[in-house]
């Protein structure tokens, strides 16, 4: 009766599968970081119309978005070492996690770049002009005016992307990395209680996603300046007198 469904195993397996959680989290966090940095770069290059780089960015984005992540992973995992060996770099001791960081990081970058670009472009152009005519440098304009507003707009889509990345990391086991799913698969195969092990992994993913959702929701509420309410006060009908002492 060994292969009957035994619910208590779900809880018994949990600690063991949880031991692989750091790998899943590391994958998600590092890939998100790479995604944000490279993605912001791509968005920036596209917005500022940088010649050549803009074309590269467009091709890259449409390639990543047009192919399944599993194929990208195999391409990086099998293709990259081949290329590196070809130019004489030894890849024997490279941790497979590195290939996953590259795959998921670049994948995130492509998707995030579009989210970032849309968010940057949704900040009204007149505010750029107002910043520039006020004498802001481009850097000051982005840091003080554009980014803070774009961030608020981007948070909901960004949250969706991070949570979906978390789920996507479950493909890591296909190249032999023991993340949460890899661990569950290994346990299931060893004990023939595959379903219990996967349910265990499922519970971990549900709880993680829920936590992420709450965190982003909190962030969104916290950073949204337009939802801060204040009653509109009446205008004082004063005849203005402006003192304008000369500075120079």
């Amino acid at each position: 009766m060994n292969n009957l469904f035994q619910p208590q195993l779900i809880w018994q397996y949990l600690p063991d599968i949880l031991s692989a959680l750091p790998v899943t989290l590391l994958l998600t966090i590092v890939s998100t970081l790479i995604g944000v940095i490279v993605g912001a770069g791509i968005a920036f290059v596209r917005m500022e119309d940088t010649p050549f780089f803009k074309q590269v960015a467009i091709v890259f984005t449409s390639f990543i978005r047009g192919t399944p992540i599993l194929i990208q992973m195999f391409l990086v995992y099998y293709g990259l070492p081949f290329l590196l060996n070809y130019i004489g770099v030894n890849t024997d001791n490279v941790n497979p996690l590195i290939y996953l960081f590259i795959t998921y990081g670049l994948n995130m970058a492509a998707f995030l770049s579009e989210i970032i670009r849309a968010a940057l472009e949704s900040v009204p152009a007149t505010q750029r002009e107002a910043a520039l005519t006020s004498g802001y440098t481009k850097r000051q304009m982005y840091m003080k005016i554009i980014f803070p507003q774009a961030m608020v707009i981007a948070i909901p889509s960004f949250a969706t992307m991070v949570i979906s990345l978390l789920q996507d990391t479950s493909l890591a086991f296909t190249i032999g990395v023991l993340d949460v799913v890899g661990k569950a698969k290994a346990l299931g195969t060893a004990t023939f209680h595959t379903v219990e092990a996967y349910i265990s992994a499922m519970i971990i993913f549900i709880i993680l996603s829920f936590i992420l959702e709450r965190v982003f929701h909190w962030l969104e509420k916290r950073s949204n300046y337009s939802s801060r309410q204040m009653p509109i006060a009446a205008t004082n009908p004063v005849m203005p007198v402006i003192e304008h002492p000369k500075t120079s």
């Binding site: 910043a131 204040m230 005849m239 203005p240």
Partner: protein, 245 residues
């Protein structure tokens, strides 16, 4: 004090500014009138490099900048001598009214937090919004936003203020409060170049009126000359549509 010489600007093959020159004395208010598409807004935007003019030059105080040859740094220096007020206010939506006024002072012109705060409060008082410093733009009316916009531009002691149809997006009942503030700016002795369709304002407040059409200055003179005795037939035709006496 401000000397703009022979500005030309084309969009593709379409020349929209065909050699416009303009000089302005300290504290002088010049109004630019003209039909839509006459190039008046483009001309204004060329002055602070929101559009890059093809040729011509601008001199403010001692700084001369040639369009088309200016370095990033020169443009920055030039812009810091001018303020601009926009048709749609262009307030920074992530900042309160007071922060809108203070940030350029601190970030660009090196005022201390305290200096900036004092000046912002004085200006808020002057434009009749002393209680509104902590409001975000989304909580203010159009007229209030535009008055904050003027205060922001004025706060850093610019040599000249550029107004791009400052009342065009406002409900008629709110136009008055903005024009009042603009009159106060003139009274404070700040030079202004105003692109507007407010004939009453042009007549009452400006020292000089320029009538532009098809990218050139058709006629230029005192408000009395332009409104009461226009010489050019195009000016007459344009003004006939407004009943100003």
């Amino acid at each position: 004090m401000i000397e703009v010489k022979d500005v030309h600007k084309s969009f593709n093959d379409n020349e929209v500014i065909k050699g416009v020159s303009l000089s302005l004395n300290e504290g002088e208010v010049v109004t630019i009138l003209g039909p839509s598409g006459s190039g008046k807004t483009t001309f204004l935007r060329c002055l602070n490099f929101l559009e890059i003019a093809d040729s011509g030059s601008i001199t403010i105080n001692d700084q001369k900048v040639t369009f088309g040859e200016a370095s990033v740094d020169e443009v920055l220096q030039l812009r810091r001598k001018m303020g601009m007020v926009f048709q749609n206010y262009a307030l920074f939506l992530n900042k309160t009214a007071k922060q809108n006024i203070m940030e350029p002072m601190i970030l660009v012109h090196g005022y201390s937090q305290q200096q900036a705060e004092e000046r912002a409060e004085t200006l808020l008082q002057a434009i009749g919004l002393p209680e509104h410093g902590n409001y975000y733009p989304s909580q203010l009316s159009g007229g209030q936003k535009q008055r904050i916009g003027i205060a922001r531009a004025l706060a850093v002691h610019p040599t000249v203020l550029l107004f791009d149809e400052p009342t065009a997006a406002l409900d008629p009942e709110l136009v008055g409060e903005v024009l009042k503030v603009m009159k106060a700016v003139k009274a404070a002795g700040v030079a202004m170049i105003v692109v507007t369709h407010e004939m009453q304002f042009a007549y009452e407040v400006s020292d000089r009126v320029i009538f532009m059409a098809d990218g050139v200055i058709v006629e230029e003179g005192s408000p009395q000359q332009i409104f009461e005795h226009p010489k050019e037939s195009r000016t007459q035709a344009f003004l006939d549509r407004f009943t100003v006496h």
